[in-house]
């Protein structure tokens, strides 16, 4: 690790956005201090470091905070350009494509997956499921067309889009037990199914992934909380 580079990651163990940052740091071989936040009782440091959103992840580099997972990933890539592999490709057009798919995952795929699980009505959840199918199949197409037979979105090695999607893998794996749905169904989306096995098995990835059974328990609790009315005095 470069001398004088102090990295602190404020996170929450179940957050896919935090996982993305852990994956990036691991892939680049960077050491950091991890601080687990209780999101129902946010630390002063978190609120001070991300006053606008008060969310995790926040990466504090030499005392300077960066928020929003996609922005953190790009910042790590630029600040540690000489350390480990690059996340984004060098070519400007390829970078634009990578950024496009990262935006797609966050703006289209994630909300759909969220709605299919946490939608308030049966109807909302069904709509979410429909949308999820569409977005996942679009992503399968992206892996096929942009990937051109290579093992990762980033080509021969994992890159930006792999990390962005990889952050979701814990929940993707938990989804089968939680909702009876396989988001990356090997029948419908064989490339994505194969990709998730391959990515999950990477030396830098495997140790960082959250425990799936713990995610399942957490997911069950979230669903129960959604169904039950909030207790008097409980904070959000």
């Amino acid at each position: 690790m470069a001398g004088g580079d102090d990295l602190k990651l404020l996170g929450m163990w179940a957050s896919p956005f935090v996982l993305r940052v852990k994956l990036a740091l691991s892939l680049k071989g960077l050491s950091y201090e991890y601080v687990e936040e209780d999101l129902r009782d946010k630390s002063e440091l978190l609120v001070k470091s991300n006053p606008v959103h008060k969310k995790v992840p926040v990466l504090i580099h030499n005392g300077k905070p960066v928020s929003e997972s996609l922005i953190i990933l790009q910042c790590i890539d630029e600040a540690f350009a000489g350390t480990g592999p690059s996340l984004l490709p060098a070519d400007p057009y390829e970078r634009a494509i990578a950024r496009f798919w990262a935006a797609y995952i966050d703006d289209k795929m994630l909300p759909a997956l969220n709605q299919s699980a946490m939608g308030k009505t049966e109807e909302e959840r069904a709509e979410g499921k429909q949308q999820s199918l569409v977005t996942v199949e679009t992503l399968e197409g992206a892996l096929r067309d942009c990937g051109k037979g290579k093992p990762f979105f980033g080509g021969d090695s994992a890159g930006y889009v792999d990390v962005v999607l990889g952050g979701l893998l814990g929940w993707v794996r938990a989804s089968d037990e939680l909702h009876g749905v396989k988001p990356f169904d090997p029948e419908r989306t064989p490339l994505l199914a194969a990709w998730s096995e391959r990515f999950g098995a990477l030396e830098a990835v495997e140790p960082v992934m959250p425990d799936v059974s713990r995610l399942v328990e957490f997911g069950k609790m979230l669903k129960a909380r959604l169904a039950a009315p909030p207790a008097a005095g409980a904070s959000n």
Partner: protein, 224 residues
């Protein structure tokens, strides 16, 4: 790409603030391009559908025939694909400053997102949007502080990302029953300052036209 049109073509729609981001950046950097007005409320062109099959939206920047979609992706692309074009909109060697710029550029999307809810919704959801837009503008005002631009002394990435929403503000003020001058005076001054720039003035449409367009959208969505 064989037979592809050389140079830059911007598929855009006159009133789109996302398209304006691209027009302003291209103008600031003095990069020549062909502007191509797209039909959005009627049938979309083959070129648009082929260039952005995923979203079918503008803006799309075609560079030697290859499409780049999403306004902020396009802004980053212009920085990187035309390294000799000046000015640089993102700070050059400071990863942290670049991250801050990207953060606030992404945040500026909220002005449009919340603003849209202001005119689309009624009752409680509209009231919520009202409170939110005031908060968003206050946050932006706070971030700007006493500086001339979000980029510091120079017009930069965040300024380009945010300024296209300025002609929409009078409409939002009306629907939201607030005044930008009242809640975010520094931002109001910044808006006036930016409007003096050639690149901005040339791409802007008067707020009355924007308001007319909102009315057209309301009709299209069947909103009273």
């Amino acid at each position: 790409m064989a037979g592809a049109k050389k140079g830059l073509v911007l598929l855009d729609f006159w009133v789109s603030p996302f398209g304006q981001r691209c027009r302003i950046a291209l103008a600031e950097k003095g990069i020549p391009y062909e502007y191509s007005e797209q039909e959005l409320l009627g049938a979309k062109s083959d070129l648009l559908l082929r260039s952005n099959p995923v979203h079918k939206k503008i803006p799309v920047l075609l560079h030697d025939g290859r499409p780049v979609c999403e306004s902020l992706v396009i802004l980053n692309y212009l920085e990187e694909a035309f390294p000799d074009a000046s000015p640089k909109l993102l700070p050059a060697d400071d990863a942290y400053a670049r991250a801050q710029a990207r953060f606030w550029a992404a945040y500026s999307d909220k002005v449009y997102e919340v603003g849209t809810r202001l005119w689309k919704l009624k009752g409680e959801p509209q009231a919520q949007a009202r409170a939110e837009i005031v908060q968003v503008l206050r946050n932006l005002d706070g971030e700007l502080g006493e500086r001339s631009f979000f980029g510091g002394e120079a017009f930069g990435f965040v300024d380009v990302a945010l300024v296209p929403f300025v002609p929409w503000l009078p409409s939002y003020e009306r629907y939201g029953e607030f005044s930008v001058e009242g809640i975010a005076p520094r931002l109001a001054a910044w808006a006036r300052r930016c409007a003096e720039r050639d690149s901005v003035a040339k791409s802007f449409h008067p707020p009355e036209k924007v308001d007319e367009f909102i009315n057209l959208l309301k009709k299209t969505y069947g909103i009273e």
